[in-house]
């Protein structure tokens, strides 16, 4: 059962080939047996899962036809789940039991989906390797000496190791697409505001967006149908009708124009990754798409702009963790200032503290204009590059990540090298555009990701292009050798 896609599992549930309880128990057993190899879960919610599966079976017996009813999935531990520990990968929230569900979680519950547990992640979603989690690093099922990518590395490893058929994830600078690329999965970051951020622990509020992590584009469409919604509780959420993302998956690609940015094929791109991406572009040509070279001239400023804006927003968002109302509190504080400082210093990891300090610096008197305001202006230039490109092309195509999965510790000592892992993904977050990654080859036995970037709210077009590619290739069907 675990090698079937979410769509196939759903069809089996509807046909009564298996029950949700059987399906859920199967995945729970796999998690118990295999996850010690990967560390992809922080919390496994066995009792909740089996109760939800039982309820889903009752709904299915009563004629429920929602395609996610009874399907087990995992949630990134950044989403608040009522009555279940939500840590965000941090010691700060190791004791936090949320009193409410995130809207994304509630949407899946309303559809009858089953929650297997909460997946591991870089602390507060800050990282590109999943090495900064308080709960230990996640191992890449394709090569356990290598990272799964971050920050949604737990979701990626869980789906790649067939411990869950799909998982939720979030993307602030590439945290869905980069781990999807490194673990051979399909990961989609929707347009900013398409999915509610309510109950999703904030890192950088103008960049964070939730999306699905699955094995196929069809499964991503099924999950996005449920994740995307208008939510009055999130004031940045966009009130716009949610289309059926599965409806256009089979459309022909004839007439589609794909833009290839020259800036995404320069220095720093692994030759094997480049060859796989170029072969994929040729495949698109064979499917009827027109390929057009384009330029995104401010691409080189995306990483610098991001590392002002994201830390600035994180320093504000993480000020709520002060040891007073919830989360970690230090022992025997001398006074209130000592309580704040020691609680935060004891519970935040090195990377989180570094970003808070950078953000505090960029927002402080005397530096605000030189850094924060400047980065916001550059952000508009980056957006304008894409606006101009989309006048000529339907989708932008290129690599997701500069290289396949790297070994643990390879970049940990050099934050700048780690930051450059997201060099091709960050610009879409700054612009608020949707992007996705899908598998397009293997280099040294490790997966390579192909990135598609769409115009605003054109997730359906991206999913259509990804699905058509997956009809004529089998990279998405390949599995790590030793997942059993």
């Amino acid at each position: 059962m675990h090698n079937k896609t979410l769509a196939e599992l759903s069809a089996g549930l509807q046909a009564k080939t298996w029950s949700s309880v059987e399906l859920t128990q199967h995945f729970l057993d796999r998690i118990k047996r295999l996850d010690p190899n990967y560390n992809s879960f922080i919390t496994v919610t066995e009792d909740v899962a089996l109760a939800q599966a039982k309820a889903a079976d009752a709904r299915l017996a009563a004629g429920e036809t929602h395609p996610l009813c009874g399907v087990p999935i995992a949630h990134k531990d950044i989403f608040c789940t009522q009555g279940v520990k939500t840590t965000c990968g941090s010691k700060m929230l190791d004791n936090f039991i949320s009193p409410y569900d995130a809207t994304v979680v509630a949407n899946f519950q309303a559809a009858g989906a089953v929650m297997l547990g909460k997946t591991n992640m870089d602390e507060f979603a800050m990282g590109s390797s999943n090495e900064t989690s308080f709960f230990g690093p996640v191992k890449n099922p394709w090569a356990t000496g290598c990272v799964p990518g971050g920050s949604s590395g737990g979701s990626a490893a869980a789906v790649a190791a067939r411990l869950a058929p799909g998982a939720t994830a979030t993307d602030t600078g590439g945290s869905i697409r980069q781990p999807a690329a490194l673990c051979g999965l399909t990961g989609l970051k929707p347009t900013y505001g398409r999915v509610s951020r309510w109950g999703m622990i904030a890192f950088a509020s103008s960049l964070d967006q939730a999306g699905p992590m699955t094995r196929t584009a069809e499964d991503a469409a099924l999950m996005l149908n449920t994740m995307a919604s208008f939510d009055a509780k999130d004031s940045t959420n966009i009130d716009r009708e949610v289309p059926d993302y599965t409806a256009s998956l089979n459309d022909s690609l004839a007439g589609l124009t794909l833009g290839v940015p020259k800036e995404y094929f320069g220095e720093g791109l692994n030759p094997g990754t480049q060859a796989a991406v170029e072969a994929a572009i040729k495949q698109y040509e064979a499917l009827g798409a027109t390929i057009k070279p384009i330029s995104l001239p401010h691409s080189h400023l995306a990483v610098p702009a991001y590392y002002v804006i994201a830390p600035a927003e994180c320093s504000a968002n993480l000020s709520r963790f002060d040891g007073v109302r919830y989360g970690h509190r230090c022992e025997n504080p001398a006074d209130l200032a000592d309580l704040y400082k020691r609680s935060r210093s004891e519970a935040f990891g090195e990377e989180v503290q570094r970003r808070i300090l950078v953000g505090t610096y960029c927002l402080s008197a005397g530096y605000y204009d030189a850094y924060y305001r400047k980065a916001q202006k550059v952000r508009r230039l980056i957006k304008q590059d894409f606006v101009d490109a989309f006048k000529e092309v339907d989708l932008v195509i290129g690599p997701t990540s500069p290289s396949p999965a790297f070994a643990f510790g390879a970049k940990g000592a050099d934050p700048i090298a780690m930051y450059l892992e997201d060099i091709y993904t960050i610009a879409t977050n700054l612009a608020g555009l949707p992007g996705m990654s899908l598998p397009c080859g293997l280099v040294d036995g490790k997966p390579v990701g192909l990135q598609l970037i769409g115009n605003y709210f054109e997730e359906a077009r991206m999913l259509n292009a990804a699905h058509q590619y997956q009809q004529v290739t089998d990279f998405h069907q390949q599995a790590p050798a030793d997942i059993a």
């Binding site: 009193p99 505001g193 590392y307 570094r354 960029c362 550059v378 508009r380 230039l381």
Partner: protein, 95 residues
């Protein structure tokens, strides 16, 4: 722009983070590396560009000024490190 130890001490105060004497040199160096990276922004000509805070230049949606949330103080305080009589307890601030 370069940062030195005194900047880090000040930043630690502003950010409510305790930076130990053993790590301050390392923190200063790392922060300097990040600031060198973001200094690349200074080369961009942005004189005629408006800052962008939201990808759609959207403004916060307003709602009617009505109470819509029920009182859940007990639920919220159940996860607090220390409370008493419905109040959060913190160390004494004023003698």
């Amino acid at each position: 722009m370069a940062v030195d130890r005194s900047d880090i001490v000040k930043l630690g105060e502003l950010a409510r983070l305790q930076i130990s004497e053993e790590t301050i040199d390392e923190v200063t160096r790392r922060l300097g590396d990040v600031l060198a990276l973001v200094d690349q922004l200074q080369a961009a000509d942005t004189d005629a560009v408006k800052p962008m805070a939201h990808p759609f230049d959207a403004v916060q949606r307003l709602r009617a000024d009505e109470v819509t949330e029920p009182n859940q103080r007990d639920a919220f305080q159940a996860i607090a490190p220390a409370t008493e009589d419905g109040l959060y307890l913190v160390p004494k601030v004023i003698d």
